[in-house]
Structure formats: structure tokens, C-alpha cells
Symmetry: C3
Subunit: 336 residues, 3 copies
């Protein structure tokens, strides 16, 4: 879908915090036929709408497991690189809504190997499906696909570019776990330089009145342009290298992996790695109400002993991802 | 299914051009339980039947998207070599009819790697599924599978052998775009020697009163036995090397790829390649009512600038493929 | 699911041989929420229950093909190594019950390649699915997964460990083909040393009053500890090297492959291989009522000429596998 139509998103009324949302074939649904390409396309009104629908999805799943809102609809799940978690989550989202999935994960062996362009591939798939979820290693590929496709494209990650549904589920986790966003102190920990996840989340958070604590090794700091952008939007930011400096005031701790490969000097890596691992001792020093998040997979950043801590929200976070993806699918297909 | 039972196809009455076809469990359906192995098994009565059902599938999809004609039925989609387009199309066809799919695309890693024979594999899968779609690199494999299977086999391409559903969708495209076949001048362009697609289409077209124009480099001409067969069936055939010689009289232009690998002498390739590429200039010289087709994927044979031309039918062609495959699945399962 | 809860299986009443089993949401179902990890967790009461439900599944499929007992339920099919037959069978089982499947077969490329642990992977998937079927090359992996997962885990083979659904379908085949187990003489042929299939089946059979005939090359005899276990349970066992010694008294002949790789000395292999191949001559010497089984795939152990013999039960055996897997899925999801 051409993004031009998306300016229409401003015209819909703000949803109340806990609205009654009648499911049905809503051609007037504000996201009907739209693409989901970037977190930048969402303002607070949009986000409240997404989270309102996602919350209802959560309640429906709790009550009935699955329901037939998208019965007869088909999702083409087009993954140019594997991502078990994301593809499984979208497949489950479609199936819990009564829809079907065309899984396409061998594109590297197939038409594409024969040299077919992404525009041709998506225009082929939209002949068969009602919506396309696209994972692709190249930045901008989702936007390129959307330029050519008549059916909605949902970006499931395009290289170091965007992964908007991850950012939305991260924010939705905070909303559901805490109940609000304004006034929170959110600490982002680990690799803040390369992680597109934390970049997107930070941007979304900056729409609210939050404080950010950025804890990372010096060489993995948040990119300066993004830091400036956040500050310009009025976010109170503190950067440091040690979690303990900010842990006591943290409402939400978002952990990411510090990858060995990022360090030129392995001594540097060995020196800092311990500071970015969460264990029972860390949790003992953390506020009782803190919410601990991680985008997963984890490889040692959070010890398994922490899993039983009720503050460990990372498995619930994945479940919230299901509800957000259910919401987005229902919305772009005009059913919410 | 043994092909012997297929002679029964002659006994059903010719369908009118726009019949009312009541869906239901029709044990008297003329294709019930049959295999779809080759275009040679279809006469004009059969083809009219297939296209009648496919046309109704088109109308049903336009009206309701999906419906439950094959609810509870299971398709085993057995691909020994990848083919994104064909497998996605069959999966969508089954899902739009309310059925389910068992996707099996890793056969080279699995039982087959353990040395299992094709007859054993299909007799295993028919324990689980109601119909099997088979793609295999070896000629005759679909017929071999059908010899052993009790459930219907649909050939989705067996090497340089047959790909009957492609030929059927090609012809259906002409029927739907033009409204009739008799009297048409169809130009086949490109690699006419190795392309099984054009061979099958030419055979099907020869059942009608058509003129064929065969445009190819000398070394990629239609095989002489097939040429003789077509002429013997009364088709008026003209062979040439330049599209411009026949473009003005062409009602349907079917483009295929001229592969570099086919040429021993690369100079020969460089000399001819330009003559087999369709661009805006080609279209400016073509009749206004012409239908432009391509089996896809394309790699430069048709410029993207042509895509917006209403005569460019290649994306609609893929959609017609969905309807033809829906029709075939419903037919062999006794529902149409 | 923690296995501790499984002791509850003793409390349910023995099912009559041909009971009326009302389908529905049975929270009191004896296997509701349980894992299926090992044949050792089943006693005779359990097995009768499983086979009672499987028999009803067989009748339902014969009558209506598919039905909506698990509509809205989602199976995550997690295969760390390919197994076309087993995964296709579970997928078909779920789909014939109206449920959906998340197929995950590229785990080696994906999160796992990023180093994710099995506990994290299953705890992720249970956020999306209602039940997880796991195939994994390492012994004990299914039990490990079950230890962490809240949702039921079904072991679809863990290396040289267990493959309980294969053993259950083998025994169910005997029950359905013969009508009873007590009093039968069952001959196990081929590689009895390494085949986990025959080990599990022998253990299950030892719950009944059976005679076992173990026919294998000397180096591929049943492991002595298992042999002792069987004898201790009162099974009458005869070991020999030639099938003809016991064929005349055999009610059920279970054939497995003798793999060349097992022999250090290829002369030994060449000398014995012929004795472990079933052909028309073997069948001519076998009892008329004998049931011939094989877990498949076969690579020459049973000639194709035998396939038309009504005693050849190996394709029906696969179909029984579908019913057993339908039964297990329905049972652990509380619907039977």
C-alpha cells in the first residue's frame, strides 16, 4: 500500500482507555488496508488504538483461545531469513483469529534464486493472500514491497532497519504490566549502539513523559543522533556504564545482549561483560515493582534462576507479542 | 489413481458456457477421484468443464474471499524441488476452499535421504491426506506416483515432462481475458525449444481453431515433432525470428525467457537477446486489444514499465492460476 | 508438565472394551494436561484408554473424514531433525481434528543457531501454542522440555531414547488387526540391538501374556538387560538367527532394517542379509492369519511384491498412527 494514504490516521477520534470495540467488517477501521512499516508511522492516538485492540485480543484469548474474526483470510508469511520466534508468533496470531497461513521460508532456494525481484514476488503473493508479512535482510525492503503491493505489508524486520512489531510489543508489555507509561524510569541495558530493538523502543517511549537510563559499555552507546533526538523531544536521559548507578530508580529494565563480536579488544569485552548480566543478586537490589524485559533469544544475559521471579516479564512479553500481532492483522484487514 | 478410469470422462454432458454448478458432495462429478497428470488427458469437453468451475471459483472469491467447500479435506503438498509460486498457489487454493495443507518440502533431508522410494512416500502420505500435489525433478514421476496411490495425484511439474496446471491456467487466462479461443492469433516468443510451458499450451490451443506465430532464435525453435503434430491438427503456423514481423496481428503474446545458458556461442546470445525483450516501445507497436502473458518468474524479458499497461495480464494470470487450482482440487475431491 | 501429576492416571476407572466416549471439554479427562514422554508411563489401563479413543478416531475419520474437536487449538510442531512421516502424521492428526499447526523445522538455522536453549524455545512456543510436539536428536530432551513447559509436550523421538507414539501405534496396529494381544506369538526380526522401536514395543507387549521370538544376527541381538527385564516379567522368549525356525508359529511379524553400517566385517553382513528380507516366498511359508508390520521407511527389507498380500499391514499401520496421534492430542488437550 502506498504510504500516502496513511496521513488519514490523524482523522480518527482518540479511543478512550478502555473502549468497547465491536468486532466486525469495519471498512472505516482506521488502519484498514494500511501497511505496518515503521514505528515512525504511529502517533499516540494510533498506539492507543493498537494497544486497545491488543488488550481485547488478550482478553478474548484468555476467554476462548481462538475465534473466527479472520476466518477465510490468508496471510503470506514471507521470510527471506529465518526467525523462528517472529514467524511462529505471526502464524499463531493468524490461526488464533481463524485465518490461514502460506509459509514461505525457502525463498533463497527458489524463484528468488532464479533472480526474481522483491516487487514481483510480493505482487505474486498478493494474488493468493490477503496480507503479507515480510522479513528481509535488507534495509528498506518492506517499504519497497509496500510501494508495489496493493495488499497490506507488515514489516517483520528489514535488516538493521526496522522491526516495528517488536517495538510495539515491547511498549505494550510496559502498558499491560505497569498500567501506564507517563512518569516511568526506563533503563535500557547492554548493546545500545547496534540494537534496532532499543532504538525503536526509545523512539516510541519519547512520545510519553519518561526518563531514560542508558547503561552500556562506552563503545556500545546509543548513537548520538538518536540521543539528540530523544533529548530534543524532552526526554530526561542519563548515560552510564554501571547498572547499579541507576537500578534503584528503575521501573522498567530492558536488557539486550552485549555481543563479543562487537569488541575489537577481547580484554575490553571480558572487563565489562559481567556488568551486563542479570542474576538473583541483581534482582535482590532492584525495586520490588520493577519489570524485567528482554527481546529474546537470550544467551546468558539473564540467568535462568531469575525466571521464577515475578518481576521477570520476558515470557509474558512474548505472549503480548501474540496479542499485538493479532491486533495488527485484524486492523489492516479491516476487522478492528 | 489408475488412469484407466479416466475414459469415463467422455460420458459426462458438455457444460453450457455459463452453467449453474451446484456445489456439494457430487460422487457423479466427472473428475471425482481422478489424477491430473498431463494436458493430454483433457479434451475440449473436459477443458470447458474445468474452466466453468474455475470461473465460478473466481466469482466466489470475488464475492466472499474463501468458503468451506473443502472443509475437513487435507492436501499433502509434496515438493521434491522448491517452487514458491506453484506451492503457494496450491496452498492458497486449498485454504480458500476451507481445507488444510500438510507442507512437505524437505524431502531431500528426510525419508528420501534414507532411500525411500516415491511409491512408498505417496502411499504413506495418502494415509494422512485426501489428495497429493507432487513436484518432482524426474519425468514420469507423477504417473509413477499415481500408479501406486489410491488417492488423487496432481502433477505440479515433473522435470522436463509436464506441468499441466500451468498450461491450464495459461489457457484459462486467454478464455477469461478474451472471452473465446477460436479465431485467435497467439504468438509464442522466446525459448520454444526447452520450455515445457509453451509446449503444453500449444497442444491445448491446437484443440481450437487458432493461428500460432512462433518467434524464437533459430537454435531455440519449437521441436520439429511438436511442430508437425500441430500442423497435422490443422493449426496455421508461422515461424520467424523477429517479433515485429507478427506483432501487428497478435491477439495474445506469450513471452518466455531466453536463457543465456542455452547458447554455445555467447555472441549469438548477445545478437538476439534484444529481440525478445518487451518494453514500452514494443507495446506501442502492439494491437490495443492484445493480451500480454508470461509464466513468471521473469528476469528482464518484460520491462517493469510495461506493468501499468492494461494489456499486461501476467499478474492476473497468476490469479487465474489460483482459480484453476481451486477448481481442480474441488473436482478431484468430488465437490464440483 | 511436571511428571509428578501423572500418578493420577491410576485413579481413573478402566474403560470397557467398547465404551461410549462422549467428546467434549473434559477437564476430568485422565490425560488432560499431561506430557507423553515415554512408553513407561503407560500401564494397561492407560493403554486401553488410548486405544479406545484411537479406535473412535478411526471410526470418526471413516465416517466424516475430519471434525472440529480441537477447533481453535494450535500445535507447535518443533522438529530439530527432519522426519517427514512423523511430522506429516501429527500435522494431519491436528488438522483432521479441526486444529491448526505452527510448523517449525528450521530450528538449526534460527534462534537455536543463535544459541538459544531448549527450555527457552519451548517456553517461547507455549506462549503461542496449546501443545508442543518435539523431535530432537538428544536423549532426554523431551523430558527436559516437559520440565520447563506448562503446556503438554509430546515426544516425537529423542535420539536413541524414546519414540513413544511409534510404539503406541505399533501396539494399536496389533490390537486393531488381531483384536487382542493375550496369547499372541510376536516375532521381532532384524536389528534388535539398536532399534528403539522394537525395544519400546517389546516393553509394551510384556504387559500382556505374549510369546516373543527374537530373530537377528548374533551381533544385533536384543540388549541383555532388556532381555532379562522381559523374562522377569514372565514373557516366554526364544532367540534365533533364522526366521524359518519360528515363522510357522508367528502371529505377528515385526520387521526392521539390518543396516550395513552396523557390521564391522562386511562378509558377515553379506552372509546374513538375505535371511532378513521378506518376499513372496517368505509369505508363502507364513501362517495365513499372520500380520506383517514394519515401522518404515523400508529399504529392501520387504519386497514390493508383498504389498498386495492382505497380511501386509504396514500401510494400515501408518494409518493407525494417525488415529493414535489424534487420540493423544485430544487427550492431552482435555477433549477425550
Amino acid at each position: 500500500m502506498p504510504t500516502s494514504g496513511q496521513s488519514g490516521s490523524r482523522s480518527h477520534p482518540a479511543r478512550s482507555d478502555n473502549p468497547y470495540l465491536p468486532f466486525g467488517d469495519r471498512r472505516d477501521a482506521p488502519f484498514y488496508g494500511r501497511d505496518i512499516l515503521s514505528v515512525r508511522q504511529f502517533d499516540k492516538v494510533d498506539l492507543r488504538y493498537v494497544f486497545g485492540v491488543a488488550h481485547e485480543m488478550r482478553e478474548m484469548v484468555a476467554r476462548v483461545g481462538s475465534f473466527d474474526l479472520l476466518k477465510g483470510k490468508i496471510l503470506a508469511s514471507l521470510f527471506y531469513e529465518p526467525s523462528t520466534r517472529t514467524s511462529a508468533s505471526f502464524t499463531a496470531a493468524m490461526e488464533r483469529l481463524g485465518g490461514s497461513v502460506i509459509p514461505i521460508s525457502e525463498v533463497h532456494y527458489s524463484s528468488v534464486a532464479k533472480g526474481e525481484s522483491l516487487p514481483d514476488t510480493v505482487r505474486t503473493l498478493e494474488c493468493y493472500a490477503d496480507v503479507i508479512v515480510l522479513r528481509h535482510p535488507e534495509v528498506g525492503s518492506a517499504a519497497l514491497a509496500a510501494e508495489y503491493a496493493r495488499k497490506p505489508i507488515i514489516n517483520a524486520g528489514d535488516g538493521v532497519g526496522e522491526h516495528p512489531t517488536q517495538a510495539l510489543l515491547d511498549l505494550f508489555t510496559i502498558v499491560e504490566e505497569v498500567g501506564h507509561v507517563d512518569g516511568l524510569t526506563v533503563t535500557l541495558l547492554g548493546d545500545l549502539r547496534y540494537g534496532r530493538t532499543v532504538h525503536s523502543l526509545a523512539r516510541l517511549l519519547s512520545l510519553w513523559d519518561v526518563r531514560l537510563r542508558l547503561v552500556s559499555p562506552k563503545i556500545l552507546r546509543l548513537p548520538p543522533p538518536l540521543l539528540s533526538e530523544l533529548i530534543a523531544r524532552g526526554v530526561e536521559v542519563v548515560e552510564c556504564e554501571q547498572l547499579e548507578e541507576v537500578l534503584g530508580d528503575t521501573d522498567v529494565l530492558y536488557v539486550t545482549r552485549v555481543q563479543k563480536e562487537r569488541f575489537e579488544n577481547l580484554d575490553d569485552y571480558e572487563r565489562v561483560r559481567g556488568a551486563y548480566v542479570i542474576d538473583a543478586a541483581t534482582m535482590a537490589a532492584a525495586p520490588e515493582h520493577m519489570v524485567l524485559m528482554h527481546p529474546f533469544p537470550r544467551v546468558g544475559e539473564i540467568h535462568m534462576e531469575v525466571d521464577v521471579d515475578p518481576r521477570a516479564a520476558y515470557f509474558r512479553q512474548m505472549e503480548y507479542g501474540l496479542y499485538v500481532r493479532m491486533a495488527l492483522l485484524a486492523m489492516v484487514l479491516g476487522k478492528a
